[in-house]
């Protein structure tokens, strides 16, 4: 059973039925003690609603965002690589190996003369033109150019690192 106070709170919150609302309104008009209680609860209600929210520290948002940044920056590379790419590479190799196996077995002619007499015939592609004189010369030339380019890059990086260290430590810059 609802107490007078409970009825009044429901009336203030607007959670009672229209019939109850009408009955309470009538009681407020007729019963002075009930009306006094209503005024008291109404005052309390406005006081409860007037309470202010607490203010967090100034750097709160910054701290939250910093924690999030740290958490996501700390994610290992393994976790940040798209798994579909890894699956795709895996699938490519599986298909290639399967195709190679199918091709190999299709070339095998199983005879009835036992394993020793198995006539296996592989037809390898003819690669000898690839190792002929001009091709090899071009290959070696490109290799040497690439090696020189990489060596030059390596030396440049080394010199830049040295310059950085001397600047940070207050030493003189390398002008060469």
């Amino acid at each position: 059973m609802n107490t007078a106070e409970e009825k009044l709170w429901n009336y203030i919150d607007g959670t009672c039925t229209p019939a109850e609302q009408e009955a309470i309104q009538l009681q407020i008009q007729q019963d002075e003690a009930f009306a006094a209680k209503y005024r008291e609860l109404l005052l309390l209600n406005s006081e409860f609603a007037a309470t202010e929210l607490d203010e967090p520290p100034m750097a709160f948002t910054y701290n939250v965002m910093e924690s999030i940044r740290k958490e996501y920056a700390a994610t290992p590379l393994k976790a940040s690589i798209n798994k579909n790419i890894i699956r795709g590479i895996g699938l490519f190799f599986v298909i290639m190996i399967s195709a190679l196996l199918v091709f190999t077995f299709s070339q095998v002619k199983l005879g009835t003369g036992g394993l020793g007499a198995m006539p296996v015939k592989f037809s390898l592609p003819n690669l000898s033109p690839l190792f002929s004189g001009p091709v090899m010369q071009v290959f070696w030339f490109l290799d040497i150019v690439l090696a020189l380019y990489l060596f030059d890059n390596y030396l440049r990086k080394k010199r830049l690192t040295k310059t950085d260290i001397s600047v940070h430590t207050g030493g003189q810059q390398d002008t060469h």
């Binding site: 309390l44 006081e47 929210l53 607490d54 967090p56 520290p57 948002t61 924690s67």
Partner: protein, 193 residues
């Protein structure tokens, strides 16, 4: 400056990789989340830790937000579960949370140094003081209802209880709050005399 975009728009931007949009969401809700955390924690430092933890958890599971309820309701449910977990952990170290006197004791310790300024205190100070003396669940319901402007259904969603139970709990919480307010005011009058 606060963003004029809605919560949902900010969530979409965040999910698209814009972290500043999430910072705007944090700025918008931080006061309320911090206040809710304070209803459970005994110190501002603990409340800050809980509130921070809530926003990080919300960021992690933002993709799972179904958008069937308001973002604030979803966020407050994270606050409630996080705060309850923190409270359970603390319970091992300190007294039981069911012991209402624990909270009264803590609050009286906190407020003891400014007892001489009683005449300068506003009525809202006493209401806030009384709220902090309530049990966490009562304080949470009062705060969600009055400051969060949440309906009984939304409070039910946040706390994982039936709206009718919320109604009953709200009524009891108000009664306890009224009693504490009267007791505190009586105590302050005595101090003044």
């Amino acid at each position: 400056m606060q963003s004029k975009l809605s919560d949902i728009e900010l969530i979409d931007l965040t999910l698209a990789g814009d972290q500043s949009a999430y910072a705007d969401l944090v700025k918008r809700h931080q006061r309320f989340v911090f206040t809710l955390a304070l209803r459970f924690a005994k110190t501002r430092e603990d409340a800050e830790e809980i509130a921070q933890d809530c926003f990080i958890k919300a960021y992690r599971s933002l993709e799972s937000f179904q958008r069937q309820s308001k973002f604030s309701t979803w966020l407050y449910s994270i606050v409630y579960t996080t705060a309850m977990t923190a409270l359970r952990k603390k319970r091992v170290e300190t007294a039981s949370i069911d012991d209402e006197n624990t909270f009264i004791q803590v609050e009286s310790q906190n407020s003891s140094f400014d007892v001489n300024n009683a005449e300068n205190r506003s009525r809202s100070f006493y209401v806030n003081q009384a709220i902090s003396q309530l049990l966490p669940d009562d304080a949470m319901i009062i705060t969600l209802f009055y400051n969060g402007e949440q309906s009984l259904e939304e409070i039910g969603q946040t706390m994982g209880i039936d709206p009718n139970t919320v109604k009953v709990k709200l009524f009891r919480a108000r009664q306890r709050l009224k009693e504490k307010l009267e007791r505190n005011l009586k105590h302050e009058v005595k101090e003044l005399i």
